[in-house]
């Protein structure tokens, strides 16, 4: 089917892709730099066309719990926010993970801690990939690097969420949310009429009652459940790793970067190569599961790795684990809403890796 070409902001692309993916419900609360998502949906009025519910909640706390309620009905539901709002959502996210519910959460990250800044950052990596809320759980985390991927990952995110009965997070940032690019939009998918067998929709006489809960007071049963989650996460690690490589084949040095940083690093690779330094870029697309195996393979071939993030150094810990001491791994990052320049990255590659 024909894909429609449009010029859109990343945030708008998320909203439009959600309608087209056949989402059943969106629950959100305004926060910069992602308020366009709720605004776009209110303007598009999908409740009059596809029947998608759109609701501005009284808080992020309420919004994520609405997502819980909708997801537990077997519906395709989502919420979006930015860092401070995502912190507030953590309670609901761990309940959703604990109840094994599918849903999509978008974090258009801004700098922190606290109220921080409204400018882009990648400082919520730990929160997104290591759990975020309490208890042993993981989100599936997708990291878009373009407006196109903002749109594509909505549908992918819902598919993964339902395949694994697990919350999926799109970890974007203020730059990708706000920038305009061309984007090919998928044709409209009908809202699904399928009702998952676990969904709470009212108990017909033909089945026993469905209970959505994350509570088990019996430690042995709770541990069995924890082990079931571990097995699920291992299956996800095995099957769902996604990444992109840029000029890695002959690389002596490797940059690892996702999202906005990866866009910068792509330019850095070109600059470095003009100077005769053979650099490649590995861009993780899934941050959980992390492309550890691929990084480990590349670590056997390169002389050093620079992890580039708009943070004080978060993803670098996963790179270090993947490399396991085989070569030098260093971090370079800007914070507080600052975006590194391609030149800065090359400079740091030189001083921290090549010279070091």
């Amino acid at each position: 089917m024909e894909r429609e070409l449009r010029l859109m902001k990343g945030n708008e692309a998320v909203a439009e892709a959600a309608i087209r993916a056949g989402a059943d419900g969106y629950f959100g609360y305004p926060i910069t730099p992602q308020s366009e998502i709720l605004e776009y949906l209110m303007e598009a009025k999908p409740y009059e066309t596809t029947g998608m519910v759109v609701l501005q909640a009284e808080s992020e706390l309420a919004a994520i719990n609405m997502v819980y309620g909708g997801a537990a009905c077997g519906k395709k539901v989502m919420t979006t926010s930015s860092s401070p709002g995502i912190s507030l959502k953590q309670e609901g996210i761990t309940y959703i993970a604990g109840a094994e519910l599918p849903c999509l959460i978008v974090n258009v990250v801004r700098g922190g801690p606290g109220l921080g800044t409204i400018q882009p950052a990648q400082s919520d990596y730990f929160q997104a990939v290591k759990g975020g809320g309490h208890g042993d759980y993981h989100l599936i985390v997708l990291a878009p690097a373009s407006v196109q991927e903002m749109a594509d990952f909505v549908e992918l995110g819902f598919d993964l969420a339902f395949r694994y009965r697990n919350p999926v997070m799109i970890l974007s940032d203020g730059a990708i949310g706000q920038m305009m690019e061309k984007v090919y939009l998928n044709p409209h998918r009908e809202r699904s009429k399928d009702v998952p067998e676990w969904a709470t929709t009212g108990k017909p006489p033909t089945r026993s009652r469905n209970i959505i809960t994350s509570l088990d007071l019996d430690p042995e049963a709770q541990e069995r459940f924890n082990l079931k989650l571990v097995a699920k996460y291992n299956e996800i690690r095995e099957k769902e790793v996604r990444y992109e490589e840029f000029q890695c084949d002959d690389a002596d040095y490797l940059l690892v970067a996702y999202g906005t940083s990866a866009r910068v690093c792509q330019k850095s690779v070109q600059l470095a190569r003009m100077e005769g330094i053979r650099v490649g870029l590995l861009r993780p697309i899934t941050l959980f599961p992390f492309p550890s195996e691929r990084i480990s393979v590349l670590a056997d071939r390169v002389k050093g790795i620079l992890s580039v993030e708009m943070s004080a150094g978060q993803m670098v810990e996963d790179v270090l684990l993947a490399v396991n001491g085989k070569v030098t791994v260093k971090h370079y990052g800007r914070m507080g809403g600052m975006i590194p320049t391609p030149e800065e990255v090359v400079e740091n590659l030189r001083s921290k890796i090549i010279g070091g």
Partner: protein, 263 residues
Amino acid sequence: MAEVTGIKEIIKPENLVYKRTGIMTDTVLSYCPGCGHGTAHRILAELIEEEGLQSKAIGVSPVGCSVLLYNFLDIDWQEAAHGRAPAVATAIKRLLPDRFVFTYQGDGDLAAIGTAETIHACNRGENFLIIFINNGIYGMTGGQMAPTTIPGMKSSTSPFGRDVRMMGNPLKMTDIVATLPGTYYVTRQSVHTPANVKKTKRALRKAIQYQFHNKGTCFVEIVSNCPSGWKMTPVESIRWMEENMLPFYPLGDMKVPDEKTGK
């Protein structure tokens, strides 16, 4: 032999005056002796059965003593995080508007940590039923002060009685939600005497039926007892409730739809 025939005579279906409610499961209730939660559950179960709503009902249970409510009634259930039931129910009802959706919440759940969710759901006029069990205390965590603990009342975190100057005043959520344009039917009942059980059942039946009017939130408070948290025998707790709780939380309807206009 004569005796056995006598029993058979007695248990004939036409002599039936009281039976197990079909909607109640065989799971043993987790409540202390004399606790009002069990009575409230029973009424709710009877009504779901009598109104033929088993296949339409989706309940949202709270965090509190009734956290395991989903084990006791044979309907579909969602267990919400502490205080969030009205947000959870909002989405359920909006996505499945023809179902019967209700929350069942204690006073800590509804009037402390879930105040915002409660008020906003009621103010938006979400079309579901909120059943609010007000026992003036945090039962589950061992009898701490609740937002509803009445002045002077002792609890484990107000061991000398609630001093309102230091600890703040009790919050009358039912009075508050009755003032909101989104609520359709708001009432305060109790289940401590057979007469009150009947009245509560009547009120809850109305609230259940009103949900299908699609006119807004129905809110039924049930003033209840917590013998364990109050450190009283069940009988003492009933007496204490009558003498102290009910004057502070008077029973009766606070907002009723106009039967003629339905508004």
